[in-house]
């Protein structure tokens, strides 16, 4: 290190110190918490920072909520523990907490969705009795848990109108609730009432944004589950006019497949009959109106792999432990125009009656669960068979 570089280091050091000195007292500890990373890295610093922030009390409450916007999931939990500890410490003097600032944070839709829900909890706990009056305005909120509160109110109102035999108003209320709902249990409840109680048509597949039209090919061999790791031709290139040698050397070709299932279930047992120790591929294209971040949300009780635009995203070799909507959430970047999606679905050797399924369901949505429909989305297939659905979510 020559003199010049020493001087430079000193200068940078002095600059850093001066910047810390001029920063707010919560800046450095929040930075430490935001730095937590994989496999426990940053934990000791975060623990110390958490104590520092908690000791700052109400001063650090809003900065901790605000920092959640740039926090990874672990750092967000660290910050939540700080916020809740500050509130608990102020139990004897709740007036010392910035109630109106918490309300303003809650109402600002640019803030982190989970942080805003936490702010709602705090405001409900600490604020004046007007928290309830805020809920109806959350019906189109980007924060899923806040929106859920507003949808629950609309469901309650729809049921009241239904019980009062005001079917017209009940239909209007339930349809509004359906447009707003993002959680599976609420959508199910609303759709059931609209269909059975109010004789309305509900396109659940479109509501969720399930992909319904595919090309499928199979069966390839998956004896001893070896096919999961083996690369078959569709993984190398997509040629929907091609034929390949499949399991037992039988020639197989792509064929179109469309599902009318409410929950977009692509059932490979339908084209191929129930088989064991096999695998198949499903391919579709999705036309996006603009490049954007999105989520692929998959439900599957078989082993699976998935590719977007030829790029491998994720795979999982678990068989027959359960399926539910949004079982796996994969963040993606859609490109404008045509996007390609390839799903590999593997069936194992188990013979129990609960291991027959060879299927998956896939939808594209934003981070709040709102369906993102392709510009060229075909109509949901009609003549739906008897409604079917995967196992209900836990709870």
């Amino acid at each position: 290190m020559n003199l010049s570089s020493i001087s430079t280091s000193l200068f940078v050091g002095i600059l850093s110190l001066s910047s810390v000195a001029s920063a707010e007292p919560w800046s450095a500890p929040i930075a430490h918490i935001l730095a937590v990373g994989p496999e426990g890295s940053g934990n000791p610093d975060a623990a110390e920072a958490g104590q520092t922030l908690t000791a700052l009390g109400s001063l650090a409450l809003l900065p901790s909520l605000e920092a959640m916007a740039e926090a990874n999931p672990l750092a967000r939990n660290w910050l939540r523990s700080v916020v809740e500890a500050i509130v608990a410490d102020a139990a004897d003097s709740p007036g010392s907490l910035p109630i109106e600032n918490i309300k303003a944070f809650l109402l600002d839709r640019k803030n982190d969705p989970l942080a805003r829900h936490l702010a709602f909890d705090l405001y409900t706990l600490l604020g004046p009795d007007d928290a309830f009056t805020l809920i109806p305005g959350m019906i189109d909120d980007p924060s899923p848990p806040l929106r859920r509160e507003a949808v629950a109110l609309q469901i309650k109102e729809g049921n009241r109108l239904f019980a009062a035999n005001d079917k017209g108003a009940s239909v209007t209320t339930f349809k509004s609730a359906l447009d707003a709902a993002r959680d599976v249990d609420q959508i199910d409840e609303i759709a059931k009432t609209l269909r059975k109680g109010l004789s309305q048509t509900v396109d659940l597949q479109r509501q969720f944004g399930f992909l319904s039209h595919w090309n499928v090919i199979g069966p390839f061999d998956n004896t001893d589950q070896a096919g999961f790791a083996k690369v078959s031709p569709p993984e190398e290139s997509i040629d929907l006019s091609a034929s390949y040698s499949g399991k037992d050397d039988k020639m197989i070709a792509w064929q179109p497949y469309a599902t009318s299932d409410d929950y977009g279930m692509v059932d490979l047992n339908q084209p191929y009959s129930p088989l064991k120790q096999v695998l198949g591929y499903a391919y579709t294209e999705y036309d996006a109106p603009a490049a954007r971040r999105a989520e692929l949300r998959l439900g599957c009780k078989n082993a699976w792999k998935i590719w977007l635009n030829g790029e491998y995203l994720f795979g999982r070799d678990e068989y027959h432990r359960g399926i539910r909507i949004d079982q796996y959430v994969l963040p993606i970047k859609l490109k404008k125009g045509r996007n390609t999606i390839l799903v590999k679905v593997c069936q194992n050797e188990q013979e129990q009656d609960w291991t027959v399924e060879w299927q998956f369901q896939l939808r594209i949505c934003d981070e709040s669960g709102s369906a993102l429909l392709a510009t060229d989305r075909p109509p949901t297939p009609e003549a739906a068979p008897a409604p079917r659905r995967p196992a209900a979510p836990a709870n």
Partner: protein
Amino acid sequence: MRFLSKFSRQVLIGALLLAPCLTRADWLNFRGPDASGYDATITELPTELSEKTQAWKVALPGRGLSSPLLIGDRVFLTAASGPEQKQLHVLCFAAADGALIWERRFWATGRTMSHKKTNVAAPTAASDGKRIYALYSSNDLICLDLDGRVQWMRGLTLDYPNASNSLGMASSPLVVGDTLVAQIENDSESFAAGFDLLTGANRWKIDRPKSANWTSPVSLRVDGEPVVALQSGDGILGLVPATGSPLFTLPGNASTIPSSAASGDQLIVPANGLTAVRISPDGAEPTALWKEENNRPGTASPLVIGDKVYVINNAGVIACSSLATGERVWRTRLEGGAFSASPVAGNNGHLYVCNEEGVLQAVDLSGAEGKVVSSIALGETVLGTPSLAQGAIYVRSDGHLWKFRK
């Protein structure tokens, strides 16, 4: 200490010497000491289970199968709530009256899907008496001190993205020495790890059989040294808890639901019915002692008290066998048919167990045959194993936590 009189000094020294003896036994993990279900230092427990002996009952904010931890005058418990169980809770209650002392909540960072019978707060937390290590089915592992200050956090599914079980994880971690041992075993990214108690960093991590496994580690002593036994469908693997170095293996078809029971250097394994082995200090394969194919545990783990082994089968029948030979001594039917909770016992000649319908029962073990001498219907489904403290029994459902006292 010049200002202290000779008498005062004697009193102080006496108190210091007596302090360890007077320390209340803590229940620090699933099935208590060494994850055995048995605490010989607990000599007083209520044998009448009734409204009269119910000290308190408190509502819980979420579901859970996890057992309470009992440390000093506090009770610690985990729960999960929300439409998809994405909200995780750690709760601290006063043992005296059930008052909530503190609660911390976290967002699950891993998958929260589970079979509807179980839930995200299925694993019981562990403790070293100074800190709580709360593990959830979402593979969130959170360390707090006894006053609720977060010490460290791990999102094990963030670190190891295929480590999950769509039916739910349930293995409970265990502190052995200065290491927290956890089995994160499943069909895909299956592993066991030892975590540093102070930082949460991996001390070791080993691959485990790619198969769903809900059993929990147990600890035993071989030549005076602590050993951790990990159970899976492939058998038993004995490890040095601090390093994860293998010590012995016991191949075979061990159960993936009920866990083993340790007693000294013996291990009672739910395998081929029930199998007893003695662990050798030289690392050789364990010595087979006996095997009883007709003594098959259901969901509940076996319990060793003194020279007897107690097993509850899937029909709700409890069998008492000789620890030395495996031969059956007696068996009797418990109240109610299905048991998810494991039996636990102190040193008062009774064991305690709760069936899935929520009938908590005390079984007198002093006679020629076991006898249910008292029971109380809690009125809620109970799948979690009770915990014991001197003079008290704690049990939880999805909705409540109860304390019964002598």
